[in-house]
Symmetry: C4
Subunit: 275 residues, 4 copies
Amino acid sequence: MANFKGHALPGSFFLIVGLWWSVKYPLIYFHQKGKSSQLTHYHQRLEIIEAAIRTLFSVIGILAEQFVPDGPYFHLYHENQWVKLMNWQHSTMYLFFAVSGIVDMLTYLIAHVPLGVDRLVMAMAVFTEGFLFYYHVHNRPPLDQHIHSLLLCALFGGTFSIFLEVILRDNIVLQLFRTTLVILQGTWFWQIGFVLFPPFGAPEWDQKDEANIMFITMCFCWHYMAALCIVAINYSLVYCHLTRLKRCGGEIIGIQKLKSDHTYQTALLTGSDEE
Amino acid sequence: MANFKGHALPGSFFLIVGLWWSVKYPLIYFHQKGKSSQLTHYHQRLEIIEAAIRTLFSVIGILAEQFVPDGPYFHLYHENQWVKLMNWQHSTMYLFFAVSGIVDMLTYLIAHVPLGVDRLVMAMAVFTEGFLFYYHVHNRPPLDQHIHSLLLCALFGGTFSIFLEVILRDNIVLQLFRTTLVILQGTWFWQIGFVLFPPFGAPEWDQKDEANIMFITMCFCWHYMAALCIVAINYSLVYCHLTRLKRCGGEIIGIQKLKSDHTYQTALLTGSDEE
Amino acid sequence: MANFKGHALPGSFFLIVGLWWSVKYPLIYFHQKGKSSQLTHYHQRLEIIEAAIRTLFSVIGILAEQFVPDGPYFHLYHENQWVKLMNWQHSTMYLFFAVSGIVDMLTYLIAHVPLGVDRLVMAMAVFTEGFLFYYHVHNRPPLDQHIHSLLLCALFGGTFSIFLEVILRDNIVLQLFRTTLVILQGTWFWQIGFVLFPPFGAPEWDQKDEANIMFITMCFCWHYMAALCIVAINYSLVYCHLTRLKRCGGEIIGIQKLKSDHTYQTALLTGSDEE
Amino acid sequence: MANFKGHALPGSFFLIVGLWWSVKYPLIYFHQKGKSSQLTHYHQRLEIIEAAIRTLFSVIGILAEQFVPDGPYFHLYHENQWVKLMNWQHSTMYLFFAVSGIVDMLTYLIAHVPLGVDRLVMAMAVFTEGFLFYYHVHNRPPLDQHIHSLLLCALFGGTFSIFLEVILRDNIVLQLFRTTLVILQGTWFWQIGFVLFPPFGAPEWDQKDEANIMFITMCFCWHYMAALCIVAINYSLVYCHLTRLKRCGGEIIGIQKLKSDHTYQTALLTGSDEE
């Protein structure tokens, strides 16, 4: 879907996931510190619902790519020609995210799925997106090529970081890093839409101008800065909210920084429960 | 062996290994959880037999490459010319896999071989395959070059993952990841055969068509998706089969998910037996 | 600021940070071995002051880039043209370092910021610098391009090393490695200034001469060698100074090398306090 | 020194180091298992002597590069021209290895040098060699370029592996891997000598022939295979020799494979002494 909507829709999808994660992970992090065992069950249900929604989103994405007016309607090869390969490629990307969502659900639903498989499949979904994008943008104007290829940094960086979570599961720093990259992806899809298909009758961008490419490179960094700020703000809000809640309830979360925090982080590495 | 058979044979080899691993690793994983000490001996014999078969396959590969009708018959240099370097390169790939098989056998047979050496040599065998493929495909039609170079993703990804197993031995997620990559390689060899040397009188593919290259890129992702599904299905089948078996025998495998699973995974990292 | 000063100023900034770190990290390392608990508080204040100064430097950098006589004065787009994108890119680099400084401060000031976030943001700041430099140097003379691109080695190596510190926090070897890379960056900025904008009326360098490029490559290695030596010397000076100080005070730092050292290093990995 | 000797000499240097390591590391590995505390002191002296010899070799290398008949005699810039930059680059490589040797010595001589710094500097020495080689081979015939660039695989692979030893010190698998890469480098330097400067009046190689390049790629893999075999043979010889020695002395090395081996390997990771 090479138009504004075709970029705004996946952008919104990633943005919603990113914003949700920027609330979820701090929430779980602070709760796990307080160690209310009741939360574990609640946490599990939360993860299942989230994964289900992500799967749903991805399935909608697949159907949208297939059944837009000029879509392939699940025809792949017709009269000696491949039919709408662009839409098929986008469907493939969504398919991987759908499978990642399903595996996430299974991990929390069924006891015999080894932990870490969900992260592995998510890493492969992100890698596949980057892999398809990489071969996607040949033979296009320079700005189009550049603006898409910047995304590869976020995607391959994300693959590496998520793969690391297979080993270092529940590391809050890696989780927040992943969150910033998802938000970056979301806002960047919107940016691509605004640059390549200016809506509201805005003037076209000169796709061969060096200065435009230079600005877009810098703009990508600003988007990441914005993503960092969003995550930082949501993290603080969650903390303030929880502190107020606990104060009302008379409880105090025992946050013993410096040592305990460090122990927590590394306890995940060793699997011991010395905290 | 630049023909259909020359791709179908190694493809089948990798596919058989992949399918076998997709049964073996879940089997061992569930058994180790039940901790029946008797299995360890059985496990060891299994590994030795598997490694022996892999070595045998590789030796057959070497001999096939050398003694096909237009093979080099172990002549390397003749009348100021290199003889059939393509066959020699394939032989070299098989040689590394043969050595990897031998080292695997030795690791389980002889007590003084340090654990991890088998994974290291396997990683080097996979790397060598990728390394030779990388320099293999210059000066060929675009589609031929592209379809072979896609394999490099699987090979270098595999090298990284197997190398990681030197440190994180017996991590089920890494083992399953390796399994999916081997299956991917197997099915992809078959795909290469079908595309470059269409059997059964099928029409030739246009090796310069952009759309074909675009389809093949996407097709590679579908193959990986299929590999993921195969591994998932076999994993489930093994689990169901074991559960039924145990129920008949009156035993129950104690699977305490969430915590125990995590502890297990990380216990491997720390080497402690706190499980 | 494409002139001598524009390279000497950031060079001095990195050099000062590097020299300070080459004193700070050995100091903390030796003190932590002696385990005087009083230091922890002192250490914390030190880190906050350092981060504040780094933030200040970065803000000065941003303002300098914006308000130099031919700067953009915070105008980004004027009369259908991007205004002084070069200065904006430099401002962006400084902005990331400023944010990294602020996060460093927050980590030590506020108890609920998870440890490791400071390293993550620092890694992203270094990566952003490298990322912008990478797209910065197109369409320039070969020597100009080469001398800037050498910096990428230091920057991406630094990104990797600092990212590793998220997991392996307080590892003295990684800290010293980071220090050498910062010093390298500092001295190299000065070198770039001397080569591209020779001060004091020195003759211009031929920017297309192969021999100049070859020398500059080697020169980069010498700069790293110098950085290694500076860190080694400062490390020794700190040790000698501390030993003398302790001898006067009648105390002895118990340095039990070989085992204790190793335990210390790995204790960080496991988070246990077995030392 | 672009001649046969100029490649045979460093080749021999690396080969000697590699062969020595292929004896040393198994020796230390088996001894540490037997835990005779007396060895530690002997081990330390061994390391110091080895490092001293490596430093000596490197200094000889520097002097040889400077004082060969057509060398630069420590002149760098003369009459507006860089003097013999090739020799200077080689000297720089040797310089880094010399410094690596010195740091190795210091690590074992002086108690306050943190363990791991020796590996870091060694990794940087190997990286520097690769870095200089990378920019070294522009504007040369294809075969010359190719045969040198193959070395980069060994060098950057080695950098990664040695850097890993900063964290996973004394891991026998990583040590043996490093050993194979050093032997590979040694034999490959000899190969380069034989190909580019055929001694004993052998015929010249056609430096533009595709088949030659293809053969050389494969030949590189065979060299690695040979390196693997050499290390495996020396490992076995050391084991047999030690077993015979112990049997005569009435002692038995307690090698409890499978479990103990694994524990040992991972104990290094956690720093605990549970063995």
